[in-house]
């Protein structure tokens, strides 16, 4: 067994019996699809023996299209994985090569078909917009093609350029020309309109579900401050007021587990009420449901409305937020402004 997997299992054992039932497992971050079905199976079996789970357990895996052969899809399905999220990104080969992806548009389509054939009834696709040279038209082509597979879930991410990546450096040097703010706003709003017309629920800034039951049960935990346990290098965990994270280097992760016989925690933070309050707001405002005002003001002892009445009134008037009987919700336009809304 590779050292990594045995470390992972050791780490699980360190947390054995410390938690109540889990209702989701998410195999993601990095490229878990590089692991073959057998290894995924070992990891899942180890999880099952270390922790307790609910009956409606959601098990998601993130895969690269080129890794998802029919065979591997079948193996994953056989191991109990019941939700698959495929990193399609685009169905345009030029865009894919701009993004530096290994797969072609054809391989993307094949991957989806393989997932379906293997029996997956909950398939999610990741797509990217805001690519250099992309027009609304070419983006909609990708989107239409994705929709033709009636995926249960869609994530449409605006391309984020990290300054330290090769793409970032090109961007900073001005050698590539990225869509401007107005166009990105159009991408965002028009995709939302289009997908909602197609019956999808725009339930978070970048996430769409064909029905509410297909929302990512797992990801929603991040946005509602639910507890989660992260295992493996650079995984983050959250419980109560505490957040902690593992070493990001795989080597350090493995040696730390071997030498210290303790969880390989690189850092942690104990959130102050003020920080919890800020997080609850900026995470909540990313979701269509928004923020339960009564719960929020009770939990954080602040009368949110009294503090910001002029601004909130203006934002409601401008159609950026709305107040339902309980919640403060971003409108579609508000979702595009969630960062600014976070610091009102």
């Amino acid at each position: 067994m590779p050292a990594f997997i045995s470390s992972l299992i050791d780490e699980m054992n360190m947390y054995r019996d410390s938690f109540d039932r889990f209702d989701t497992i998410y195999l993601g971050g990095g490229t878990p699809s590089l692991l073959d079905g057998r290894k995924i199976n070992i990891i899942l079996q180890a999880l099952f023996s270390s922790f307790r789970f609910t009956d409606d357990l959601e098990i998601t895996i993130e895969v690269n299209p080129s890794d998802l052969t029919l065979e591997s899809a079948r193996a994953l399905h056989g191991s109990g994985v019941n939700r698959i999220n495929i990193g399609i990104q685009s169905f345009d080969n030029n865009e894919l090569s701009f993004l530096g992806r290994r797969h072609s548009s054809r391989e993307g389509a094949d991957a989806i078909e393989n997932a379906r054939t293997a029996g997956f009834t909950n398939v999610g696709l990741d797509l990217i917009y805001g690519i250099c040279g992309q027009t609304l038209e070419s983006w909609f082509k990708t989107l239409d093609f994705a929709l033709s597979y009636t995926p249960e879930h869609l994530s449409c991410y605006q391309l984020t350029i990290e300054p330290s990546t090769p793409l970032g450096i090109e961007y900073i040097n001005g050698s590539i020309d990225m869509p401007n703010e107005d166009l990105l706003y159009d991408f965002f709003i028009k995709s939302s309109e289009k997908l909602e017309e197609a019956g999808y629920l725009h339930y978070e800034v970048s996430n769409f579900a064909r029905e509410s039951k297909w929302m990512s049960k797992h990801n929603r935990k991040y946005w509602f401050h639910s507890p989660y346990l992260g295992l493996g290098p650079s995984a983050h965990s959250f419980y109560g007021r505490k957040r902690w994270w593992n070493y990001s280097s795989v080597d350090t992760y493995i040696t730390s587990i071997k030498d210290d016989k303790m969880p390989p925690i690189e850092g942690s933070e104990l959130l102050t009420s003020e920080q919890l309050c800020l997080e609850a707001f900026f995470l909540g405002i990313r979701t269509k449901e928004g923020i339960d005002l009564e719960e929020y003001s009770q939990k954080f002892h602040c009368d949110f409305f009294a503090q910001h009445s002029a601004l909130l009134t203006k934002l409601i008037e401008e159609g950026i937020i709305r107040i339902t009987d309980k919640n403060l919700q971003p409108t579609r336009r508000g979702l595009a402004l969630a960062d600014s809304l976070s610091i009102i």
């Binding site: 994270w245 800020l278 934002l315 960062d339 600014s340």
Partner: protein, 598 residues
């Protein structure tokens, strides 16, 4: 008393007053070259940086003259800016003579003239001194001619020197001894002493600088300030050397300091007369005036939590600046603050700078205003310097603003441009003199409000630094005044309201709108910026909103980083002021304040 000489140096800025003072101090043996600290008379940092003297101070120079006698030469320094001309007059009142210092290359400037006239009013002996004769561009003949034609003085009474090279200094000291009359007065008379300066010492309280005209003053005596009848027990008296030099007593004719347990500088008034509480003199020395502020503005802390700190800083600041006054004020936009009065715009700059630098405060200033006079239909009249108190327009029967007579001197070639500037600033009744070939003295009557902003800066740049400026108040004149409000998304930003002459309301409003547009960051919605008089909008601009800023992904590992970023942004936002629903940064208030006058 026969061997005391009291004198000042009057000079235009940069003509070398501080350098000359340093040389005289050196020659008197008070400081050798090693312990010599440059320009000893200008003590405060800001003064030094700006090359101007704010606080007048004195120093006693012991001098053994060629006649073999020892003399005490009291050099009384004078502030060098138009804002402080009253202080100058009090310093001059303490002297029997002045050195009129003129730059050999630049010749006579307006400031020189103004101060000379003041010296003449006090019947002082004037010794013209031509400085910087070492400069290749020095033109002694030209200056001699000016002394004759422009000042009406005998040019052959003038001395020449190079303060920089230390040449001609002894001749100056000799001339002081020979030509300036000794003080008159009688130590047996009741005490009368003129306060010409006061400064704050953290250990001793207020140090009062004064000139004794009659009588004597010594420790443990009870003195009385004649303007407010306050009495104090004298703790210490002495002369100013490089530091304070304690003495048993000061007597008629002398210049020195008094320490008497006076808490703040504002407890004493420059120009007031000190007398003895037991045997007071009959009447105070002439010329006392309360220093009257002419420019008013409100100061607010950027973070409202800093209010108490600001209050404490102002209290401390006034310990050392009696001409600065303040009282509580509040603004809807900016919260609690203080309404302050200044002697002029330079004084305002100095106060602002010192509050920010010495007390580490971030403050916002409202648009400066002069003091207007309104007469109501019911016959009552009121002076108003705060736009917040602008009367109901329908009730006003007459509005007036303060006017000044400006005196400017500059080379003739700039006449057209300067005339244009003055006329733009509503100057009238101009008067042109040609005191010497190629030089112009231009007089204009102008509203004070139109020169307080950046008139002097403009004048200097138009005349490439050769123009000088001085002014005197000439009273109130009727003027069509309106209250200009600035609205941001319909909300009045009260701190930006201004009382202005109707004729400039529109350009002023447009400019304010443009400045705000440049400084207010885009927000989630469109921002309309408007200038309005009453209900009438006279200028407007808009700031278009931004529409998308959200980061695409925010999952488990992204949250901490994201929170930290938002915490930072939130802090930045806290430093902005909310007006209705719009966040306005400090820089926006500053930008409007710095508006060029139009």
């Amino acid at each position: 008393m026969e061997r005391i000489r009291n004198f000042s140096i009057i000079a235009h800025i940069d003509h070398g007053k501080s350098t000359l003072a340093d040389r005289m101090i050196q020659l008197a043996g008070l400081a050798d070259t090693r312990t010599f600290k440059d320009q000893i008379l200008d003590t405060m940092d800001i003064e030094r940086e700006r090359g101007i003297t704010i606080k007048s101070q004195a120093i006693t120079l012991p001098y053994r003259a060629r006649d073999g006698q020892s003399y005490l030469l009291n050099l009384i320094d004078t502030p060098g800016h138009v804002d402080f001309s009253y202080e100058v007059s009090r310093s001059l009142a303490s002297c029997e003579g002045v050195l009129l210092l003129i730059d050999a290359a630049q010749g006579i400037q307006a400031q020189t003239l103004a101060n000379l006239y003041m010296a003449m009013e006090h019947d002082l002996e004037v010794i013209p001194v031509i400085n910087k004769i070492d400069l290749p561009s020095a033109d002694i003949d030209m200056v001699m001619e000016q002394i004759e034609n422009e000042l009406g003085l005998d040019p052959f009474t003038s001395l020449t020197c190079s303060a920089k090279e230390g040449k001609g200094i002894e001749e100056i000291l000799e001339a002081i001894v020979e030509r300036i009359p000794p003080p008159r007065g009688d130590s047996n008379n009741p005490l009368s002493a003129l306060i010409f300066d006061a400064y704050y010492d953290p250990f001793r309280g207020t140090i009062v600088s004064c000139r004794i005209f009659d009588g004597m003053i010594r420790a443990s005596q009870t003195i009385r300030l004649m303007s407010n009848k306050a009495t104090y027990r004298v703790e210490e008296v002495g002369r100013f050397s490089l530091s304070r030099n304690k003495k048993n007593h000061l007597e008629a004719g002398e210049v020195g300091y008094i320490i008497a347990g006076i808490k703040t500088v504002s407890d004493v008034r420059v120009g007031d007369t000190i007398t003895c509480d037991d045997h007071p003199c009959e009447k105070p020395l002439p010329g006392f005036k309360e220093a009257k502020p002419v420019v008013f503005a409100s100061i607010y802390p950027i973070a409202s939590d800093d209010y108490e700190e600001l209050a404490a800083a102002l209290e401390k600041y006034t310990l050392n600046d009696a001409s600065f006054i303040y009282q509580k004020d509040s603004s809807v936009a900016l919260g609690q603050g203080f309404r302050c009065g200044f002697l002029g715009l330079l004084h305002l700059d100095i106060v602002q700078e010192r509050l920010e630098r010495e007390y580490d405060l971030s403050i916002i200033l409202s648009v400066p205003s002069v003091r207007y006079r309104f007469t109501m239909k019911n016959g009552e009249s009121a002076f108003i310097d705060n736009p917040a108190h602008f009367p109901e327009p329908a009730q006003i029967s007459k509005s007036e603003e303060p006017y000044i007579r400006a005196t400017m001197m500059f080379p003739e070639r700039y006449l057209g441009a300067v005339m244009k500037l003055c006329i733009e600033r509503r100057g009238e009744n101009s008067n042109i003199n040609y005191p010497a070939p190629g030089r112009v003295e231009l007089n204009f009557e102008m509203p004070l409000a139109s020169v307080i902003f950046d008139f002097y800066d403009n004048l200097k740049s138009i005349t490439q630094g050769y123009g000088s400026f001085d002014y005197t108040m000439i009273g109130y004149r009727e003027s069509d005044l309106v209250l200009l409000d600035i609205l941001v998304n319909g909300e009045k930003v009260d701190a930006l309201s201004q009382i202005v002459y109707r004729g400039i309301a529109r350009p002023r409003a447009l400019q304010a709108c443009e400045r705000l547009k440049e400084e207010i960051p885009r927000q989630m919605f469109k921002i309309a910026i408007q200038g309005a008089i009453g209900g009438e909008i006279i200028a407007r601009t808009t700031i278009s909103p931004f529409r998308k800023d959200v980061t695409a992904k925010c999952y488990g590992g992204d949250i901490t980083r994201k929170r930290k970023l938002l915490e930072k942004q939130k802090k930045g936002k806290k430093r902005m002021k909310m007006v209705g629903s719009v966040s306005i940064p400090q820089s926006a208030f500053v930008a409007v304040l710095k508006s060029e006058n139009t």
